[in-house]
Amino acid sequence: MSLPSISARDLTVAYPNGHVALRDVSFELASGTICGLVGVNGSGKSTLFKTIMGFVRPTRGEVRISGLSVREALKSNCVAYVPQSEEVDWNFPILVEDVVMMGRYGHMGLLRIASQEDRRKVDAALERVGMTAYRKRQIGELSGGQKKRVFLARALAQESQIILLDEPFTGVDVKTEAAIVDLLRALRERGHLMLVSTHNLGSVPEFCDQVVLINRTLLAAGPTREAFTQRNLEKAFGGVLRHFKLEGPALHDDDDSRAVTVLTDDERPLVFYGDTRASPQKETAPAVKPQKDEAGT
C-alpha cells in the first residue's frame, strides 16, 4: 500500500444555498503527520472534512487521498473518521464493542462475519483507549469523554492510514485529552496521517507538527513552527480571539520589555504569575482571573 497523503488542490466548495464555504484551498499532507486544523466557527473546518469524505462535492479543484480519488480511497478503507458527538444517534440500540467492531467491516467478507483476528483487534483497540470495562454498555450510557474514546477505538480497529478527527477535545478533561494526544503520537510514529480540527489552541504546538489555518479560504499551512505564529493566528481569528497581554509594569519592576501573550479561542485560560494567586490585575490584563468553574472543565 502506498504511503498515506492528502492533497487538496484549488478546492472551492459551495453549498446548495449558494454559500461558498471554502475558496481556493490548497495544501499537502504526508505520512507520519498530525495536522491541526484551526479556524473560527463557520470557517469551514467541518466542510473540509465533508469534502475529504466525499459528502460534499467541490465545485472546483479536487482532493486526492494517497494518490487516489476520494471515492477510490473510501472504497479501499484508507480513511477513518471520528465524528463530532452531535452527529451520533446515542439512542441506537448498540453496545460499545459492536460500535468498535464496525471499524472492522472493511476487513470482513460480504456477510461481515467477525474472525478471530477481528475480535482480537477490537479487544486491543478497547484496551488501548481504556474502555474495556465498558464494552457491554449501550453507547448512550457513557460520559462525553468515554463516548469520544469509543469512536477513537473504532478508528484504531479500522487500521486506516488516514484518520480524520472533528473536534476530539471538546468536552474532554485534561487527562483524557493527554491520553488522546499520546495515542495520536503513537500512530504518527507508525506512519499514520491525522487531521485534527480543534479550538484548543494551547495544545496545538504540543502535538501537531503541521497546521492548516482556514477562514473560508486558506490563511496559512505548513510546519507548526512556521505557520502557527501570532500573526497568522490573529489573521485567522481577528477580534474573536481572547487576547491577554501581560507586560512591563504589570509584571515586574525592571525594564525587561518582553511580554507574555496568552491567546485563546474557546476556553478561558487560567494564568498564574509570581505566587500561586492570580496575576496582578492591572488595566493591561483585565480579563485574567482564576475562575474555578471554567478552569475545572
Binding site: 446548495p16 469524505m53 466525499g54 459528502f55 473510501l74 472504497k75 479501499s76 478503507n77 480513511v79 477513518a80 473518521y81 465524528p83 452527529e87 451520533v88 444517534d89 441506537f92 440500540p93 448498540i94 453496545l95 459492536d98 460500535v99 464496525m102 471499524g103 467491516y105 472493511g106 460480504l110 456477510l111 461481515r112 449501550q138 473504532r154 479500522q158 486506516s160
Partner: protein
C-alpha cells in the same frame, strides 16, 4: 383437544397461517430499521400511497400488485428525496408525500370509475387469498428476508453512521435504495394479507417491542422477527375460531406483547425504572 387442531385440517387455514407468518416476519424485520430513523409511519403512508398505482393498473390492464408496488416505490423514493434535500422533518415529509399520492389516487378513481372496489384491495383478506396471490406474497417475503439476512449488518451501519459506512467502502445510497425497494414490496404483500390499516402496526409494533427488550441490534432483529412471525401465525390460527378479522387479531396480539414489554422489560420497562428509582432513594 382435537377441536384445537381443526384449523390444521383446512388447506386454506394452513396456507393463511404460514403466509401471514412470512409477511409478519418480513414486516417485523423492516420495522426494526424504520423505528430507528423516525420513519415508523412510513408503512402507513405507503399503504395509502398505493391507491393511484392500483387505479392506474386497472386502467392499463396490468396486475394490481405491479401498479401498487410501483406507486409505493415512487412514494418511498419521494419521501427519501424530499428528506435529503430539504430540512423538513420525517413526519412532515411522510405526511406531504402520502396525502399527495392518496389524493391523486382518489382523483383517478373518481374520474375513471373502476370496477374494482379500492376498499376491498386496501382491506386485504388472508383467509380468502387465492393460490396465485399467496405464491406472489410468499416469493416477495422470502426474497426480502433472504436479502435482509445477508445485508442486515451493512444496513445497520448505514442507519447508525453514514459517514463511517462510507469509510468502510459501503455505498449508503445504494443500500437505502435497496431498503426502500424491499419496504415497498413488503407493504404491497402485507396489504393483501392484513390490509392497509394494519400494515402500519406490522411495521411498527414488533420493532418497538423488541427495542424495549434489548440494547443489541442483532438481538433486536431476532426478537422483532420472532414477535412478528409468532403473532401472525397465532393470529391467523385464532381467526378461525373468532371468524375472520385476521389482521385485527394479529395486531391485538402484537399490542398485548408490547404492553407486556412496556411494563415488565428488564431494563427499559416501567417496573424496572420504578425499581431503580426506589433503589436510588433508598441509597
Amino acid at each position: 383437544m382435537s377441536e384445537l387442531l381443526v384449523p390444521f385440517g383446512y388447506d386454506y387455514m394452513v396456507k393463511a397461517m404460514w403466509v401471514s407468518g412470512l409477511v409478519g416476519a418480513t414486516c417485523a424485520f423492516l420495522s426494526a430499521y424504520l423505528m430507528l430513523k423516525g420513519w415508523s409511519l412510513m408503512g402507513d403512508a405507503l399503504a395509502h400511497a398505493i391507491v393511484p398505482g392500483v387505479a392506474g393498473a386497472y386502467l392499463l390492464h396490468i396486475p394490481f400488485a405491479a401498479g401498487a408496488f410501483f406507486a409505493g416505490f415512487l412514494a418511498a423514493l419521494g419521501m427519501w428525496f424530499v428528506r435529503q434535500t430539504s430540512k423538513l422533518r420525517e413526519d412532515a415529509v411522510i405526511g406531504i408525500v402520502f396525502t399527495t399520492f392518496f389524493a391523486a389516487g382518489l382523483l383517478m378513481v373518481s374520474i375513471y370509475p373502476t370496477a374494482v372496489n379500492i376498499q376491498s384491495i386496501v382491506l386485504g383478506n388472508i383467509l380468502g387469498i387465492s393460490d396465485g396471490d399467496a405464491l406472489q406474497v410468499v416469493i416477495i417475503a422470502a426474497i426480502s428476508l433472504a436479502i435482509l439476512g445477508l445485508k442486515w449488518k451493512d444496513l445497520m451501519v448505514v442507519f447508525f453512521d453514514e459517514s463511517h459506512a462510507r469509510t468502510v467502502g459501503l455505498n449508503p445510497t445504494a443500500l437505502k435504495l435497496l431498503f426502500f425497494t424491499l419496504l415497498s414490496a413488503c407493504t404491497v404483500a402485507a396489504l393483501q394479507t392484513v390490509g392497509a390499516c394494519l400494515v402500519i402496526a406490522m411495521v411498527v409494533t414488533p420493532g418497538a417491542t423488541a427495542y424495549l427488550l434489548t440494547d443489541r441490534f442483532g438481538r433486536l432483529l431476532v426478537l422483532s422477527v420472532a414477535i412478528g412471525a409468532t403473532t401472525s401465525i397465532v393470529g391467523a390460527y385464532l381467526s378461525f375460531f373468532l371468524d375472520g378479522a385476521t389482521g385485527g387479531i394479529i395486531v391485538t396480539l402484537q399490542t398485548l406483547l408490547f404492553l407486556a414489554a412496556f411494563v415488565f422489560a428488564p431494563k427499559h420497562g416501567l417496573l424496572a425504572s420504578r425499581r431503580s428509582a426506589k433503589l436510588e432513594s433508598a441509597a
